[in-house]
């Protein structure tokens, strides 16, 4: 979950992280975390990191910011599958939630 600016537009923040800015805070699937943006509708990545309990790593030499995973609990904070959008091998994108209504086996593999 990587950014090239310390402050990003809310839709970009949602595209990268899955967390949507709403009046009640940052929300994803069945969870909301209180969050008040300093410059709405932009999201300050450092403030969001603090609210979401995610470490923030900044590479100053390359102007990159990256959020880690939610810390301190379990890898899955909810049994609702976290959504994501990834490119497929044909150049299209797949959003996991588009498969609702079917059973899904998600398999991570690698070429290495």
């Amino acid at each position: 979950m990587i950014f090239r600016s310390p402050e990003v537009a809310a839709p970009e923040f949602e595209r990268v992280t899955g967390w949507r800015l709403k009046p009640e805070g940052l929300c994803r699937e069945d969870r909301c975390v209180p969050f008040v943006p300093s410059h709405p509708p932009s999201v300050d990545v450092a403030l969001a990191a603090k609210a979401l309990g995610m470490p923030l790593v900044h590479d100053a030499g390359h102007d990159l910011w990256a959020l880690g995973a939610e810390a301190g609990g379990r890898a899955l904070a909810s049994a609702t599958a976290p959504d994501f959008e990834l490119p497929d091998h044909r150049g299209s994108t797949l959003r996991l939630s588009s498969l609702r209504g079917q059973k899904v086996l998600l398999v991570a593999w690698a070429s290495w």
Binding site: M1, I2, G18, E29, M54, P55, L56, V57, D59, G61, H62, L64, A66, L67, G68, A69, E70, A71, G72, G73, R74, A75, L76, A77, S78, A79, T80, A81, P82, F84, L86, P87, D88, H89, L94, L96, S97, L99, R100, G101, Q102, K103, V104, L105, L106, V107, A108, W109, A110, S111, W112
Partner: protein, 226 residues
């Protein structure tokens, strides 16, 4: 690898999504995908996002998600059939190093038959399947994520971005930090080693045998709990 199982179970309502956790993207995964010609969705995850989202730490790992989008089994080792490495013979003329490596590989715990049997049962019986876990058990079995480990995905993502831009030396520092923070995440290690190619030993001063011996075979593929 999953095409045969997809052909069998897709008509019964199962979709299979394969996710290539490959920092080099299609350059690395593309030839394998072309050879497999999958009819199921096949996506590319260059920054290993699924590690951060689901707690995946090795491949192949499977996650079961029901029709409502609820996880009913968290990540666990998922082979569609018994891998040939379990039955590999040690050649009589193998070096000591090769003997040790093959011995470690053969000691890995993989139970593909039981896994696929459980999958078939879930596809047939849905929520009534003994293998579909309730939400509290899914969370309980999900990997703990201490504060230290949580920074590893951020370093890996930066490393992958830098490597893709050609800043390979700066990328290595972030790959190393991801490895230090989360030593039992094998996707972070093995992908970075693969990107380093023949320079891997010189750059990372370690390898698969050393790390598996250090962390333990059980950490590589934890025993399946069906």
């Amino acid at each position: 690898m999953w095409q045969d199982l997809w052909s069998e179970l897709h008509p019964q309502g199962l979709e299979i999504v394969t996710v290539a956790v490959d920092a080099a993207g299609m350059d690395a995964a593309g030839p394998w995908i072309a050879k497999a010609s999958p009819r199921h969705p096949s996506v590319i995850d260059r920054s290993h996002l699924v590690d951060a989202l689901f707690g995946i730490v090795n491949v192949p790992s499977g996650v079961w998600i029901d029709e409502a989008g609820t996880i009913v089994r968290p990540p666990e080792t998922a082979y569609p059939r018994r891998p040939s490495f379990l039955d590999r013979a040690i050649p009589p003329d193998a070096s000591e190093a090769d003997r040790e490596r093959i011995g470690l590989v053969k000691a890995l715990t993989v139970d593909a038959e039981a896994y696929v049997g459980a999958l078939r049962d879930w596809v047939r019986n849905g929520a009534e399947s003994h293998y579909a876990l309730p939400p509290d058990e899914v969370l309980h079995r999900s990997r703990p994520r201490p504060l230290g480990e949580a920074g590893a995905p951020a370093h890996f993502a930066i490393a992958q971005a830098l490597h893709a831009e050609g800043a390979t030396r700066d990328a290595v520092a972030h790959f190393r930090e991801a490895h230090r923070l989360h030593p039992t995440n094998w996707t972070y290690r093995r992908d970075a080693w693969s990107l380093a190619g023949p320079a891997r030993e010189e750059i990372y001063r370690t390898g698969w045998v050393e790390e598996v011996k250090k962390e333990g075979v059980e950490s590589y593929y934890p025993r399946l709990r069906l």
